[in-house]
């Protein structure tokens, strides 16, 4: 097994671990801010999965220099998709935080169980 292959598996496992850690945080934690932090970890894991598949052995970032022959480039498409997904992530997050702020103002707490008890 060469090193790059090891890195491939390692990347994938890290993706899987970070994904599960994120989802665990979202479901198990009752603090709303903590849930949102978990959500953003969960989404970041997916970014890692996409970017992992863009790598080509011996490749460079897909910026084509004129006059240089036989260059190997990594795949541009997953990068474009993840650029979009990052912006989507921060948008969702800021909406979520705005809702949390309003919840705190209305209920005086951001713990889910206390909110449920209050209604």
């Amino acid at each position: 097994m060469n090193l790059l292959e090891l890195l491939g598996y390692f990347n994938y496992w890290v993706f899987a671990i970070v994904l599960t850690v994120g989802l665990y945080t979202v479901i198990a934690k009752v603090n709303l801010v903590k849930k949102l932090i978990g959500l953003s970890i969960f989404q970041s894991a997916v970014f890692l999965m996409y970017i992992t598949m863009d790598k080509v052995e011996g490749g460079t970032a897909p910026i084509i220099q004129k006059g240089v022959e036989n260059q190997v480039f990594s795949n541009p498409l997953p990068q474009v998709l993840i650029l979009t997904a990052i912006v989507v992530g921060v948008s969702t997050l800021s909406l979520g935080l705005a809702i949390v702020v309003r919840i705190y103002e209305a209920y005086g707490t951001i713990e889910e169980n206390e909110i449920l008890d209050a209604d």
Partner: protein, 496 residues
């Protein structure tokens, strides 16, 4: 110049580009007028395409002029045309009626933001429907979701906030699951265009990532579509949203997610993965049946009228999924025509509730006792739509229930179990609709003195328009039925 070939693009672009402009319409009522005009225009575009599609046309559009797998393709066939009618129709009707109710529930200075978000939600939903690109569907899913969170958060009391937070968390998990699934399919096929995926997926020899992808996509979209037991965000989100938002979202939002689920599955996976049809049925049919029974039973005992109808929606989603899980032409026809008919029935009911909500702050059944005395027209419209929801002959709801029972009869040994469950759940629907009718007509009001008039005329007229549509499409179901059966045939031929 001829705009016809550009219609699929215009369908999305018109509401999308007008949404920032609505922000500039500050004076009272103008934002509403602008948004309504745009929604009506969208409906006209959708109707235009639906008529052309019913005549056998099929719209394809290359965004940016780049041909299919390299650029993003839009594609409108029978199934998409039907969904476009539902979405734009729901938006147009709800917006047209919305002004009096929204004036009571949203402060004047926040209204331009509200209507702008509404147009974005509309643009997002139609964007999902017309898109033939897996990642593009994700982008538009997020536009529609974010805008829907905003709309629901405008709800009149603080309970809207935890409800929308839950929706945000579950919706984002659903969308992210979908994104993982798309990523895995992309990893194995190297493409994002749905038709291209379908063409290349058969050649993939290493099947495990694809199976996992199918699982992620199905579960992610089931979350968005509120398929039982992933529906827990629905009751509170619908109950605490502003009334007019409930009308719009209940009529079309979850259906668009089911549409993507069905379209993705039948187009990409069904013919190309061995035994996929069986796995699809085995996974979704039990969930659908459980959802139909449990959600209907919960609805029978629910005391808040909006939550009651929200649970009923979960059961109705069960019917749609059940039809799809047969993987037959008759089942798919029933499923797609039920999408249309349920949108009519539920839209009408929630419009009537918006009328009730105009005078009643508390919408629990106990408070609504005897409301028909004050608001006879609203109550009568509610009865008609309620009948359609149960599936009484002569209403739109009957048509799709009938189709569904016929489709179930083709299911061999399971047939009688399925028919029995559909009938039992219809009886339960009768029970919960009867509870509403009994409350409105035969109970004495809590406060005998309180006398107030009907719902505002604007709202009442639209409510009745939808109620009459429920009867009209019960008597003359040809047009939606033609689209539904064409959709079913396309789905089974994988040439959407």
């Amino acid at each position: 110049m001829d705009l016809t070939p550009h219609l699929p693009a215009l369908q999305v672009i018109v509401p999308m580009l007008f949404s920032p402009l609505v922000l500039l319409l500050k004076p009272r009522g103008l934002a509403w007028a602008g948004a309504t005009a745009v929604a009506l225009l969208s409906f006209a575009i959708a109707l235009n395409m639906a008529i052309a599609v019913a005549d056998g046309a099929h719209f394809k559009y290359d965004m940016g002029g780049w041909e299919a797998p390299y650029g993003i393709e839009l594609s409108v066939g029978a199934f998409s045309a039907l969904l476009l009618l539902i979405v734009t129709g729901a938006a147009a009707a709800a917006l047209l009626a919305s002004r009096p109710s929204v004036d009571r529930q949203i402060e004047l200075e926040r209204q331009p933001l509200f209507y702008s978000a509404w147009l974005l939600a509309l643009a997002g939903l139609v964007g999902i429907v017309v898109s033939a690109d897996a990642f593009n569907i994700f982008v538009f899913m997020e536009i529609s979701s974010l805008a829907s969170y905003v709309l629901i958060a405008g709800g009149p009391d603080r309970r809207a906030l935890p409800a929308v937070f839950k929706y945000l968390i579950m919706g984002t998990i659903g969308a992210t699951f979908y994104l993982i699934g798309v990523g895995l399919v992309y990893m194995m096929t190297g493409t994002l265009n749905l038709a291209d995926m379908a063409a290349r997926i058969g050649g993939v020899t290493d099947i495990n990532p694809l199976l996992v992808a199918a699982g992620f996509i199905t579960i992610g979209l089931a979350l968005k579509a509120a398929v039982f037991p992933l529906h827990v965000w629905v009751p509170n989100a619908y109950a605490h949203a502003p009334h007019m938002v409930t009308v719009f979202l209940a009529a079309c939002a979850t259906k668009v997610a089911i549409y993507v689920l069905i379209r993705f599955d039948f187009w990409v996976f069904q013919a190309n993965l061995e035994q996929h049809a069986l796995q699809f049925s085995l996974f979704l049919m039990p969930l659908a049946l459980l959802g139909i029974l449990v959600a209907s039973a919960v609805a029978v005992f629910e005391g808040h009228i909006k939550r009651l109808l929200a649970m009923s929606s979960v059961a109705q989603i069960g019917y749609i999924v059940l039809g799809a899980s047969f993987v037959t032409e008759s089942g798919l026809t029933a499923a797609s025509s039920h999408m249309f008919n349920h949108a009519l029935a539920k839209g009408g009911l929630f419009l009537a509730i918006a009328g009730l909500g105009y005078h009643y702050r508390d919408l629990s059944l106990a408070q609504l006792a005897g409301a028909a005395r004050n608001m006879p027209w609203t109550a009568a419209a509610m009865v008609i739509c309620g009948f359609s929801l149960i599936g009484i002959p002569g209403t739109a709801g009957f048509i799709s229930k009938w189709l569904l029972i016929n489709a179930a009869l083709d299911e061999g040994r399971l047939a009688w179990v399925l028919v029995a469950i559909i009938l039992v759940s219809s009886l339960m629907a009768l029970a919960y609709v009867w509870r509403i009718i009994e409350t409105l007509y035969f109970k004495t009001p809590v406060d005998e003195e309180a006398v107030h008039g009907e719902a505002p005329l604007q709202l009442l007229l639209v409510t009745w328009l939808v109620a009459i549509a429920n009867i009209f499409f019960g008597l003359f179901p040809q047009f939606p039925l033609a689209l539904s059966s064409a959709a079913a045939q396309l789905l089974l031929r994988q040439t959407l």
